[in-house]
């Protein structure tokens, strides 16, 4: 999808890349070159730094301390949840949940067992980096234990259909012990994942079930938070894609199919995929996952893996 640029071509395009005025594929190509070129990397950084200075010439805008305070609260809750998840020993929450929840960072790597570090880092490459390629959505693939995944999906669905409180979700998770889930650990991880729950539950969250229609086949829930335009896909029993291939998520509207990004599952077949993407509330017709080249395709070309139609949308009250 992205062709390799020569050094000379890249040098020519660096100023444009720094300003982010290139078409997405060209931007991606320049960034890819700069990432590995000892000359272009630093040169791009200097140009970017200069471009960022332009922000300082903006006139004072009407500030919004209320919004900033709200973001501060959410941000710090996320950070604390992030740290809490990092501190959960692997033994208490299952094999995968101790790996980096956001696909791994250098900071997190030291604090966590290395079990899934490799795949976490691979998954990370799907996400944007500072000034990364312009893309409509910013996917991150999170490792997730099967148990936590199932419980979260189940709990959120119960919540959506019965309008329970978040506290009751935790109770529901506890009650599901009979099904073999490890309730105490789950409760801990659920509490630690407040920010995840915020995206999965609430008045403005729709849930879509994605299936392949066969036993043992992959399945998933997609939660769409209309208030934040946050999309969270919790997938399960997803086989590893063939080499050089990945799964691509599509939001299907009457007019078009919008790529929400690509992901690969964890070794245990689970995947958590998040994206932020604004979509008019009534325009979603279906959600689909197809198998595509690892870099993603402009339109679906590969085999359909799972899909859900909006007939199965559950809108919270």
């Amino acid at each position: 999808m992205t062709r390799d640029l020569s050094h000379a071509e890249a040098v020519e395009m660096l100023p444009d890349a720094a300003l982010d005025v290139l078409p997405a594929d060209e931007q991606t190509a320049v960034l890819a070159h700069a990432a590995s070129c000892p000359e272009c990397g630093p040169a791009l950084a200097v140009l970017r730094d200069a471009a960022a200075y332009l922000a300082y010439a903006l006139p004072q805008m009407a500030d919004d301390p209320v919004r900033r305070a709200r973001v501060r609260t959410r941000l710090l809750a996320r950070a604390r949840a992030d740290l809490a998840v990092a501190d959960v020993p692997a033994a208490t929450t299952g094999p995968a949940s101790a790996a980096a929840p956001d696909g791994g960072t250098d900071r997190a790597a030291g604090a966590r067992p290395p079990a899934h570090g490799g795949s976490a880092r691979r998954a990370r490459s799907a996400g944007g980096s500072a000034g990364g390629p312009a893309r409509p959505v910013r996917p991150t693939v999170l490792p997730w234990s099967v148990a936590a995944l199932a419980a979260l999906a189940a709990a959120a669905v119960v919540f959506l259909s019965e309008s329970r409180s978040a506290r009751e979700i935790q109770r529901t998770a506890a009650e599901s012990e009979a099904t073999g889930l490890r309730a105490a650990a789950l409760q801990d991880s659920l509490v630690a994942r407040d920010s995840v729950l915020n995206q999965l539950t609430g008045r403005q969250v729709s849930a879509v079930r994605l299936t392949a229609g066969a036993p043992e086949a992959p399945w998933a829930w997609m939660f769409w938070n209309h208030a934040t335009n946050h999309w969270t896909l919790l997938a399960h029993a997803v086989p590893a894609p063939p080499p050089g291939r990945a799964y691509q998520l599509w939001l299907v509207t009457p007019k078009t199919r919008i790529s929400a990004g690509t992901f690969t599952p964890e070794a245990d077949g689970s995947a958590k995929f998040e994206a932020t993407y604004p979509l008019a509330p009534d325009s979603l017709r279906a959600i689909a996952v197809t198998e595509e080249p690892a870099g993603g395709a402009a339109q679906p070309t590969g085999p359909l893996v799972i899909q859900g139609v909006t007939g199965s949308v559950t809108r919270g009250k």
């Binding site: 004072q60 805008m61 919004d64 919004r67 950070a79």
Partner: protein
Amino acid sequence: MNPPDSDAAYKMRMAAAPTRAEDRELVARLSAGDDAALAQLYDRWSRPVYALVVHLVRDGDDAEDVVEETFWQAWRQASRYEASRGEVGTWLLTIARSRALDRLRSRRRLREEPLTPVLPGGPESPAGLVDAGDDPARRVESAERRDLVAGALRTLPPEQRQVLELAYYGGLSQTEIAERTGQPLGTVKTRTRLAAQKLRDALALLRSGEGGGRGGAATVEEAGR
């Protein structure tokens, strides 16, 4: 006379340098997983970040999301920040603009929004983006940055300045700039390239008096003397 060589500019630089060092210290703590440092960094930078983002996305709800994602990305990628490559503030603003453009462009694609870039009143605007609140050192720093970029922009020919402003403040792509200005795409490409290079060179020149270079440790040490 050359502003950065003036006595006033020199004093401004010396006063501002410690706050840059504090920013770097905060990012170092971020990469060690210190959420209190995240709170501090947010308190220092959320205002200019929010202002830039809301300028670009022009919607409070979208701006909230983008600001959150900006600092979240900083939290997750703090260890990738390299002091030798620029200031913490420009790092954050670069992330913020990139995320804001993602949002803006996907929204334009989806809703076919008209391209209506809002440009600042010009670098001579009395109040800069980084008003920085009550901290005198930060206010000095913000004034310094505003003066630097104003000086750099003044060195650009008007047509280059225009493409730069449409690109940076308007969030337009080269193709969109060509459509909007009625100039051939090739001309727009040449102008953005020259403009970005000139801006870089002008800023480098204006900042060369900072002592020790681009936000590196030497700046802190010299400032301490």
